[in-house]
Amino acid sequence: MVWLNAIMQGVLLGGLYALFAAGLSLMFGVMRFVNIAHGDFIVVAAYMMLTFVVSLGWNPVLGVALTVVLLGAAGYLNQRFVLNRVLGGDILPPILVTFGMSIIIQNGLLEVFSADSRKIPTGWLETASVEIVDGMAIGLLPFLMFLTAIAVIWALQLVFYRTSLGRLLRATSDDPEIVPLMGGNNAHIFAVATMLASFVVGIAGIWLAMKTNFDPATGPGRLLFAFEAVIIGGLGNIWGTLLGGIILGVAQTVGAQIDAGYQILAGHLAFLAVLVFRPTGLLPKMAG
């Protein structure tokens, strides 16, 4: 039963990793662009939520809305006026620029919030749980987190495959050079893609803040989990990203069940195994 329980908790944890990964996957899919500061933006969102809800004591609903909207706006502007300038044939400049952003963000957060580890208290939600069968219960908070991940991925899927914006994003992913010949403005389309990804980053940051302790240096670790989830699931497949998150989460909780020290290692080993046996990821790239 303890093993089944560990697997169950791992699946739910996978929801959080899928949230970390979805934005990264989206930006890579549309722009072939790897954002090294992705994890740090998630931590920024976590501190934003903390500030609004704990320090300022605002209504959580307002806190969520503000965090997500501010992240989205920042994402649009950052892409439009900074990152678009380094996009091009060479993949190195975007990596260097976002690496720089990562360092700036971490040190900025350290300056403002100190190195103390923080967490948003969630009151009764923290301990509420539902007993499924005798001896196995799932926490309400992780369960809601998992549902959020499914909802986010479903919404992204809907945007990509059912709207004219999504059509333009997929076309841009295929062949950005000729999209302007159809009247599309690449600078704007890229910025919109980053805005969508940043909405998800905001949501991911809020869940990070409610689920675990975080500090200004938490970002790079989240980036690593996000990368692993994307690669395990298969690049260019958004449901694969959810699957990748789940596999990573299950590997970690099962590893932790064996020995608490094996949690992170087990996740990385699962990732390595996928790289060795299925380097293209478990699910194929989605077609139109």
């Binding site: 004219s164 992913s173 295929d174 062949d175 000729i178």
Partner: protein, 237 residues
């Protein structure tokens, strides 16, 4: 007749390499004009300059009484220039219908819509949910032309639409040209297939090594003139 497009002394460079050396070319409203020439004569480069895919800041390109030199490609598109790019360049992850709809992203009003494109190319209607690249070459070319028409352009640029297609299919596709013209769109075709270009156009420009080597109406040009302008043998002799 009103001038739709006019370039004066158009020059284009790829780094230090000069591809176009002062092209003077014009298209009047309602005309079909062909550009012929060998590989590397600068035909495609000319189209890329006109559509804004190549930088043209400081040059003289006037479209519909507006200077479009140095404008971005998406803005030029919205003024009413659409291009069928060389090699078709359909979006592989989009269905046929989605490919067509992308063409209407600029939201220009006019006679062309999904229905009228399917009417022009009836072969496409039953394939509308297929992936764009799951079609025959000729059908793919029809999608590429339809996609360009969806923006209701005043000027349609066609880059080598006969490339790699069987002669019968080429004839089928060129049957669409007068039908497109009827609805008020002027057409500029770039062709290596000289016979096809002469058959379909009101006037012809022949490019050689980045310059206009010959221009005139198809009726006024002899085969010999064209061969000279095309290959440059006249100059060498």
């Amino acid at each position: 007749m009103t001038r739709l497009l006019e370039t004066t002394g158009l020059e284009t460079f790829y780094g230090d390499f000069q591809a176009l050396f002062g092209i003077d070319l014009h298209i009047d409203a309602g005309e079909t004009v062909a550009i012929i020439g060998a590989n590397g004569a600068g035909k495609s480069t000319f189209l890329r300059a006109v559509t804004g895919l190549r930088p043209t800041a400081g040059q003289t390109i006037v479209f519909d009484s507006t200077s479009i030199a140095g404008m971005s490609a998406d803005r030029i598109h919205k003024l009413g220039i659409a291009m069928v790019p060389e090699g078709r360049r359909l979006f592989p992850s989009l269905s046929v219908e989605e490919n067509l709809l992308i063409g209407a992203s600029g939201k220009r009003p006019g006679p062309w819509s999904l229905e009228s494109v399917y009417e022009l190319f009836p072969d496409l209607a039953p394939k509308k949910s297929n992936g764009g690249t799951a079609l025959s070459g000729g059908q793919q070319q029809m999608v590429a032309i339809g996609r360009a028409l969806m923006s209701n352009p005043k000027l349609l640029l066609c880059d080598e639409i006969s490339l790699g297609l069987a002669p019968k299919i080429i004839r089928d596709i060129y049957k669409a040209v007068p039908l497109i013209q009827e609805r008020g769109t002027s057409i500029l075709v770039v062709e290596q297939d000289v016979g096809q270009a002469l058959a379909v156009s009101d006037r012809v420009y022949c490019f050689m090594e980045g310059r206009v080597s010959l221009t005139g109406t198809p009726a006024a040009l002899t085969r010999e003139d064209i061969a000279n302008a095309y290959f440059g043998v006249g100059e060498a002799a």
